[in-house]
Amino acid sequence: MSLQPETFKTLVKVAAERVIASAPELTSLDQAIGDGDHGTNMKRGFEAVLNKLDAISSLPFDEALKTIGKTLVMTVGGASGPLYGSFFLAAGEALSHSRQLPDDLAEIFGSGVTAVSARGRSQAGEKTMLDVLIPVLETLKAGAGQPNLIERVRSTAVEAVERTAPMQATKGRASFLGTRSVGHVDPGARSSCVLVQAVCASLEGRQ
């Protein structure tokens, strides 16, 4: 897949702006079952990404993703920093040093998902961001090359967030609540969905 530097820059900008705009919602979700800092932490991290946007978008894709990852690691200030940071660091590592993206994005996305799972020592079904990332990866694998892939990825992410509500958290601070975590959407799953939706919108040229 050929992705022009300007398109990539817009994509990163839209993703960062949408995360920043969703900060109040993420914080509110985190107040219900966590420590209430997910929105402000993600906002801080993606503001730092926006500040480096020109530099990031001038890099080859692998270096660009790794710079995004490192920026999140160094600025987020909560567990979501290393988790999202590891996703982008591993995805960058999986890319060749070029300005071309491979047609099959599943492999790169999968490297990111594996890194998140290792960093959080977490699996599917534990009410975390993985409960969005893993279904999205499955959709990417199943739908490679199909014309409606973007739409399917988007609906997968949205549906996956809702499926975290009935789950009981067994990882992260929400696990302290035991059964009381049931009935709330996971904030990390929601922020993952915001990012996936932003990338989908950018790739469609709709913002």
Binding site: N41, R44, G77, G78, P82, R119, G120
Partner: protein, 130 residues
């Protein structure tokens, strides 16, 4: 003086990190290098990878550094900080699975006796049953 394992305390709260370091000092004085950090990059509750890296470097010892953490994000950010160290330092830093205050005091006391990094970690982790 022979080098002793350094101790790093990482809490979401700078006050807890400092208070824990004070308790460690009371036990071991200046025999052991102790560094602490707490708070997110804006100074609110949270942890900050660059500050953790600074703390590890300031408590650095040829025998290594043991990190004591409080809740989840402190552990995840500490593990991330360790991975971002220079390759030759990475293997000489461990994150202990132990309660932060008791673990730090026990670890520092063990370190003051000249124990290895593995011994210091093991003593701290006895507190959490493994």
């Amino acid at each position: 003086m022979n080098d002793t394992v350094g101790i790093v305390i990482v809490s979401h709260s700078k006050d807890i990190a400092k208070g824990t370091a004070d308790m460690v000092r009371q036990m071991v004085g200046n025999e052991v290098k102790v560094a602490f950090c707490g708070g997110n990059p804006d100074g609110g509750l949270g942890t900050d990878v660059p500050l953790i890296i600074d703390a590890i470097n300031s408590a650095w010892s040829s025998k290594g550094v043991a990190i004591l953490v409080d809740l989840g994000g402190a552990e995840t950010n500490s593990e991330m900080a360790v991975e971002m160290l220079e390759a030759e330092r990475r293997d000489l830093v461990v994150v202990c699975n132990a309660p932060i205050v008791e673990g730090a005091v026990m670890a520092a006391t063990e370190a003051a006796g000249g124990s290895s990094l593995a011994q210091v970690k093991a003593v701290a982790e006895e507190l959490s049953g493994g």
